[in-house]
């Protein structure tokens, strides 16, 4: 009896449909039939060079955020925990804002300086959170969460200082970056580094599915079943952290995906991470691709930052879930 398996199949099919349809949607709608007859080089170029890479990056980003959220929620035993709670998003934002204010718009190693600085900001935050947690004897998730919240406040306050102190045009640029968006994706180069990071991270967290199951029951239970707490928690912290840092550095802090996708996935396939990790990966990816399609279509030719769309869709949806059914952690089928 595996009730989750058919649901997972449906999710795979649904995701493939979304992936196939999304590149056709945008300010200029593309008729799939015209792609192949060679009469419309412009349409074909928009499709292959702009839309497809953007949809793929969106999918990878949504996937990584959702899987990172799932892992953190199991480790912290809290359905509201996410890599953002640990200050990764604010760390990345601080790095990006700093780069924008200093006017760094060069390419570093073929990557925009803003992205590199965002990655460093998130990386420093991750290391500081880990270091603060290590100060205590046991690697306690409560300490980790508090350290993350403290770093989050610290980063945010520094961003506020920077935003207040500088040139308004740059401040607006920085503000725009912090809304999150996928319009920075041009061509396939970004996929070359984002793809391996997200796919490897997702795979490692799926390999750790049994440990995630046990950790979600509590440290004592997990340790007594043979989970090496320190190693496994450090691994989860860094694998999810690096994956989310890479995504946020590229796309900006796109909120809610890492809360909503795991939440819905738990309702669909149950709490076992064997199925929960793949379900969240598919759902998170599809959700971000759909949100981005909406973002580039509704006000065309203008674009809405995708972070605004996920927030507009996500906030009320989360409220609706909260009001209509018990918390997923308490969920009874």
């Amino acid at each position: 009896m595996k009730p989750g398996r058919s649901t997972l199949t449906i999710l795979v099919v649904g995701t493939l449909v979304v992936l196939a349809a999304a590149p056709l949607v945008g300010p200029r709608w593309i008729d799939p039939g015209m792609l192949w007859n060679g009469d419309n080089p412009l349409e074909a170029r928009i499709f292959w060079d702009i839309r497809v890479p953007r949809v793929l990056v969106g999918f990878l980003a949504g996937m990584g955020l959702a899987v990172g959220g799932t892992a953190y929620q199991a480790m912290f035993r809290n359905p509201l925990a996410s890599p953002f709670t640990l200050g990764l998003a604010s760390g990345a934002s601080l790095g990006a804002v700093l780069a924008i204010h200093l006017g760094w718009n060069k390419l570093l190693w073929g990557t925009p300086a803003v992205t590199v600085c965002a990655l460093m900001g998130a990386g420093v935050t991750l290391v500081v959170v880990y270091g603060l947690t290590r100060l205590r004897a046991e690697l306690s998730v409560a300490t980790m969460l508090l350290a993350g919240v403290a770093m989050s406040f610290l980063n945010t306050s520094l961003i506020l200082v920077l935003q207040y102190a500088v040139d308004p045009v740059r401040a607006f640029h920085a503000f725009r970056w912090m809304l999150g968006g996928l319009e920075g994706t041009l061509g396939y180069r970004d996929i070359l580094w984002l793809g391996p990071v997200v796919l490897a991270g997702t795979f490692i967290l799926w390999v750790l599915r049994r440990e995630l199951n046990l950790l979600s029951l509590g440290d004592e239970w997990a340790a007594a079943r043979g989970v090496s707490l320190r190693t496994v928690k450090t691994l989860i912290l860094f694998v999810s952290g690096v994956m989310v840092a890479a995504i946020v550095a590229h796309c900006g802090p796109i909120g809610f995906v890492c809360l909503i996708a795991p939440h819905i996935s738990r309702q669909l396939v149950g709490p076992q991470h064997t199925r929960l990790v793949p379900a969240a990966a598919l759902l998170g990816g599809a959700f971000l691709v759909i949100s981005d399609s909406v973002a580039r279509t509704v006000l065309a030719p203008a674009e809405i930052p995708v972070g605004v769309i996920t927030a507009i869709l996500g906030g009320p949806f989360f409220l609706w879930l909260l009001l209509t059914r018990p918390l997923s952690w308490e969920w009874v089928p």
């Binding site: 009896m1 750790l208 199951n213 340790a223 007594a224 079943r225 149950g270 952690w329 009874v332």
Partner: protein, 263 residues
């Protein structure tokens, strides 16, 4: 021969000593009850033995091998620990939950082996929980839940079981059921059991040896018949109990006193 030997075990949290110089041995197939007043360090001792805590001083040896050198997984194939009143909020089914006990025997790249499936089935049947293996753990009653918890540690198939108040919140009938189940596991499988309990009477009737802790020290280690004496109970608990002889076993048991009555 002792399969588990504890020598000079001391443990402190934040400078406060919880256990001091605890020394005892556990033989194969022994049933030992660990008793003592609240705060004596009973749960902490089990946690140290289960390697939930690892920063203790002293020695814990299994078959002469140092526990500190064992990995968490290796240790979990030797010792299974049932924590006290562990809540399962997450909607795992009984079967899923018990299968998690197989973690130290499994690998992340293979599905549960026939041996895992067999161990789970056996644990479920032994604890009489097979019939509701598809129900969610958190929808079970207290008695059912406790049997499922036991099934999960039994599925681990270890030669040593550490139980922390496995029967405390059960009614009379379920307490007896679980107790008989433990006896069965102990005698049929030769599994050594170290059980923390506040139920001194049951401990005296079911176990062959009693260990008493007070303020982190072992203050008694011996047979129940010696333990169930006013003077010793007074020393361990700081309270003079009313003892009457058990009608079936030739051992005294404690009965509650009425206020204002003797003694």
């Amino acid at each position: 021969m002792a399969i588990l030997a504890v020598r000079g075990l001391s443990f402190a949290i934040a400078g406060q000593t919880i256990l001091e110089n605890v020394t005892f041995e556990l033989d194969r197939g022994e049933f030992v009850s660990l008793v003592g007043p609240n705060g004596a360090g009973k749960t902490t001792l089990l946690r140290c033995l289960a390697l939930v805590h690892r920063n203790w001083q002293g020695e814990i040896l299994w078959h002469g091998r140092a526990a500190k050198r064992a990995s968490q997984r290796e240790w979990a194939r030797f010792v299974a620990y049932l924590p006290q009143e562990e809540r399962v909020d997450i909607p795992y089914t009984v079967e899923d939950f018990v299968l998690m006990g197989r973690y130290p025997h499994g690998s992340p790249f293979s599905p549960p082996s026939p041996r895992d499936i067999e161990a789970v089935r056996e644990a479920l049947e032994l604890t009489n929980t097979w019939n509701f293996r598809h129900r969610l753990v958190r929808t079970l009653s207290g008695g059912e839940r406790q049997r499922v918890m036991l099934a999960a540690v039994l599925a681990q198939q270890t030669p040593v079981l550490l139980l922390d108040e496995a029967t405390t919140f059960l009614d009379f009938r379920h307490r007896e059921e679980v107790q008989h189940l433990l006896e069965k596991i102990n005698t049929q499988r030769q599994v050594a059991i170290l059980a923390v309990t506040h139920d001194i009477n049951t401990a005296a009737l079911f176990s062959r040896r009693i260990l008493a802790l007070r303020d982190g020290h072992i203050v008694f280690d011996g047979p129940p018949a010696t333990f169930m004496q006013e003077s010793i109970l007074q020393e361990v608990f700081g309270f003079r109990p009313l003892l009457v002889d058990h009608p079936q076993a030739c051992i005294p048991v404690i009965v509650p006193t009425r206020s204002g009555g003797e003694p």
